[in-house]
């Protein structure tokens, strides 16, 4: 809690007390505006305070007088608690002495407040300087002491947000990163895409950052720096982190509380800044893990954006274009389309084309001069990143190709019917059953529909499997193999009853490269496949119960 708030509260209390003793006040508590007027420096604090409450932010364009004591700003800082009611002193106190002490205390506090306020003002000035210079000075404003630390921190964070906004911002700077440093990739783009940015991606999910500059504007083809405007529209299209605290109507304290806890919890270091940009909220933590041999998705994109990889980018662009077309939604280009430099095929033979493209790119990466030094691990992760990049863009069309509504409904219905199956029925030992972990695993499985790239979908399955194995570890500590794992996993899949499960599997199988399906992820995916197969074919014989009993249970759960 910032000392400024306390300070203001204290000051108010002291003032109320002294006013009472001087006998010129009504018995009720002194209104804030009155006490301000008594200072001969009138500020419309209540109006300001409500303005601040709605934006829950400092006003950066503050142009008040130099030494104006900005009470409102202090008392409505994000974490300040509501002012406590002033304690009433019994009327029989030794009034004269008390009044004097109170007055001097009052004065001291006022001075202190002024000091702090001028400090804040200084920082604000600094901020506006930074703003006009498009420069980030954030780190320099961080090393203050004591009471202003909090303010400095907040301001510093804002400065860095503003700095990022104004300068050297790349699109993937604000790509949402659900999985440590792996992005879901909805908004990443290695190409400049003004057409896509003009429209909000909510109305056109396929086009979310997925439109290429098809105007043949070659010199802009690889310019990936974004202007503030694109930042805003991009960031506006983001959903998720910070959206709760983004509601301007929310109660100030609630907003501030949820924000500060969110800041700590998720490492988000953003705050709404000026009014026009108050919804620039999602600034994911960009902590990079120590360099590994594998390329992260971000590293992959960075490398791809180097001039040396221009030919690759162009090739990728044309491949994606051949599927999505100039409108970015799979509709063919108009007959007399100007300068579309690829042949449009839409979703025709999309699976084979993706596989061919992946294999072709894999070979290309291997021999490409710009990718030589990344090594084997780097190359294989490059292949996966490329898959993620392309599939994220074409996911909507690609998924349409594999959707099997019938099968999806069938497995969902079957899961419901068989929901009576317990781990015990599949002879799972009791000591390795951990309901909590199994529920977590189910949650992971359910997430499969919120990802676009096949690799990310597989990761959901892998995480679910890992959770189950961790339960085994807690359970008996000894090694658990497939004999123990599969029955439990079947129960988890049954319980999760994921919508579109079959379509998701088909999607993964169709668009994931073969090598991935040979690894651990592939093993987990294979287990999902076999769990599904088991669920679809299970009958009384595999459950060791009588047929009548089985039928009865199925009927009950229908």
């Amino acid at each position: 809690m910032p000392a400024g708030g306390e300070l203001a509260a204290k000051l108010l209390r002291a003032r109320q007390r002294s006013a009472e003793f001087e006998g010129d006040s009504s018995p009720g508590s002194t209104p804030l505006s009155e006490s301000d007027e008594a200072q001969s420096k009138p500020t419309d604090s209540s109006a300001r305070s409500s303005a601040l409450a709605s934006s829950s932010s400092f006003t950066f364009n503050d142009s008040d007088g130099e030494d104006d004591v900005d009470l409102a700003a202090l008392s409505s800082t994000p974490t300040s608690p509501p002012l406590p009611p002033a304690p009433r002193l019994p009327p029989s106190s030794p009034a004269a002495v008390t009044i004097k002490t109170l007055q001097s205390e009052n004065k001291k506090l006022l001075n202190l407040l002024k000091e702090k306020d001028s400090e804040i003002r200084r920082l604000k000035n600094k901020l506006s300087a930074a703003l006009s210079n498009n420069n980030s000075n954030a780190p320099s404003s961080r090393n203050r002491t004591n009471t202003t630390d909090r303010y400095n921190k907040v301001l510093g964070d804002r400065l860095s947000v503003m700095g990022l906004n104004a300068d050297s911002l790349t699109i993937e700077d604000f790509v949402e990163q659900p999985d440590s440093n792996d992005s879901n990739g909805k908004n990443d783009d290695i190409f400049k895409s003004p057409g896509g940015l003009a429209k909000p991606s909510t109305t056109k999910p396929a086009a979310g950052g997925g439109l290429f500059d098809d105007d043949g504007d070659d010199e802009d083809m690889y310019s990936y720096k974004s202007t503030s405007n694109t930042y805003i529209s991009k960031i506006n299209s983001l959903t998720g982190a910070g959206s709760t605290a983004d509601n301007p109507d929310a109660d100030v304290s609630e907003v501030s509380n949820s924000r500060s806890s969110n800041l700590d919890k998720y490492g988000l270091n953003s705050d709404p800044t000026t009014e026009t940009q108050s919804d620039l909220f999602s600034q994911p933590a960009r902590q990079q893990q120590a360099q590994k041999k594998d390329l992260t998705y971000k590293e992959f994109l960075e490398r791809l954006m180097l001039p040396d990889s221009a030919d690759l980018v162009d090739f990728i662009r044309r491949f994606v274009g051949s599927i999505l077309g100039p409108n970015g939604d799979g509709t063919p280009p108009p007959k007399n389309a100007p300068s579309v430099d690829y042949e449009f095929y839409g979703s025709r033979e999309i699976k084979d084309r993706c596989a061919g493209f992946g294999y072709h790119m894999e070979c290309t990466f291997e021999t490409h001069p710009a990718w030589k030094e990344v090594g084997d691990a780097g190359l294989s992760s490059a292949r996966n990143c490329l898959e993620k990049y392309v599939m994220t863009k074409i996911a909507d069309l690609a998924f349409k190709e594999v959707i099997d509504d019938e099968a999806d409904k069938q497995i969902q219905q079957r899961c419901k019917e068989l929901s009576f199956i317990t781990p015990a029925m599949l002879e799972v030992k009791e000591e390795i059953c951990n309901e909590t972990v199994f529920e977590l695993a189910q949650d992971e499985l359910k997430k499969i529909n919120s990802y676009r790239a096949p690799g990310d979908k597989i990761s959901c399955v892998t995480r679910a499997c890992s959770l189950i194995f961790s339960a085994f570890k807690f359970g008996n500590g000894s090694a658990a193999g497939a004999d123990e794992f599969l029955p439990v996993f079947i129960c988890v899949v049954l319980g999760a009853n994921v919508p579109r499960l079959i379509s998701n599997c088909e999607y993964i199988e169709a668009y994931t490269n073969r090598n991935t399906l040979m690894t651990k992820s592939g093993y987990c995916f294979c287990n999902l496949r076999s769990a599904i197969e088991f669920i679809l074919t299970a009958d009384s014989s595999v459950l060791n119960i009588e047929k009548e009993e089985f039928d009865r249970l199925v009927q009950e759960n229908k």
Binding site: D311, L312, D314, F315, R318, F319, G321, S322, D341, Y342, E343, Y345, E349, D352, R353, C354, A355, G356, F357, G358, Y359, H360, M361, C363, T364, E366, H368, L426, E427, C465, S466, F469, S470, F472, K473, A479, A480, G481, A482, D483, F485, L486, P487, R514, N515, M518, T519, K520, Y523, C524, C526, R529, S530, E533, F534, T537, S541, V542, L543
Partner: protein, 206 residues
């Protein structure tokens, strides 16, 4: 070269123990995989070839028998494990071999492991019978003991050698014009390379 090996065997014959022992001895200093003993990655050198072995454990209970093909249909090799003190488990091996040959064909290399050789005195499966059978189906046979760490290395090495040899033979033919892929399964070769290039207009980055 990435090679996939499935581990087949009835419940309680010690499949998991074999894998676990193999991992533990080889990866002692490394952290245990999150999937513990059901999946294992191992680099193995066969002659001059670096092979990456991924060993997949399968559930051996009879109720899951029908799920087998999901695991082994694209495997390069299979390690069939039986318990020498349990003749039933050897019958199961026969069943699997038949199935494998029927579904995957002769492309899959089979090694049969008679586990629990430390319990020799309780042996129920006769050695002559096993050896003859293995020979008849073109499989190698080893005795192993997960408990005493016997025969495991030999088992996996033999399997790897066979798989590498087979893959080499496959790749030796090559595919005209495409350039042979560096590693991976023969299935990779089948992939149509022209898709990306042809359909996106020229493939300028070749």
């Amino acid at each position: 070269m990435r090679l996939k090996v499935v581990l087949l065997g009835e419940g309680r014959v010690g499949k998991t123990s074999i894998l676990f022992r193999y991992i533990r001895n080889e990866f002692q200093e490394k952290q245990q995989s999150t999937l513990q003993a059901s999946y294992m990655d191992k680099r193995i050198k066969v002659g001059s070839v670096d092979a990456q072995l991924s060993v997949w454990d399968t559930a051996g209970q009879e109720r899951f028998h029908a799920l087998g093909p999901i695991y082994y249909r694209d495997a390069d090799g299979a390690l069939l494990v039986y318990d020498i003190t349990n003749s039933e488990s050897f019958t199961k091996v026969r069943k699997w071999v038949k199935e494998l040959r029927k579904i995957v064909g002769n492309d899959i290399n089979i090694v049969i492991a008679g586990n629990k050789i430390d319990l020799e005195r309780n042996r129920q499966v006769s050695e002559a019978e096993v050896l003859e059978y293995a020979k008849s189906v073109g499989a190698s046979h080893f005795y192993t003991s997960a408990k005493q760490n016997l025969g495991l290395e030999e088992c996996f090495n033999e399997l790897a050698t066979k798989m590498v040899a087979q893959n080499k033979a496959k790749f030796a033919g090559g595919v005209a014009g495409l350039g042979v892929p560096k590693g991976g399964k023969s299935k990779l070769v089948v992939v149509d390379d022209t898709g990306g290039g042809k359909k996106s207009g020229g493939g300028s980055c070749c």
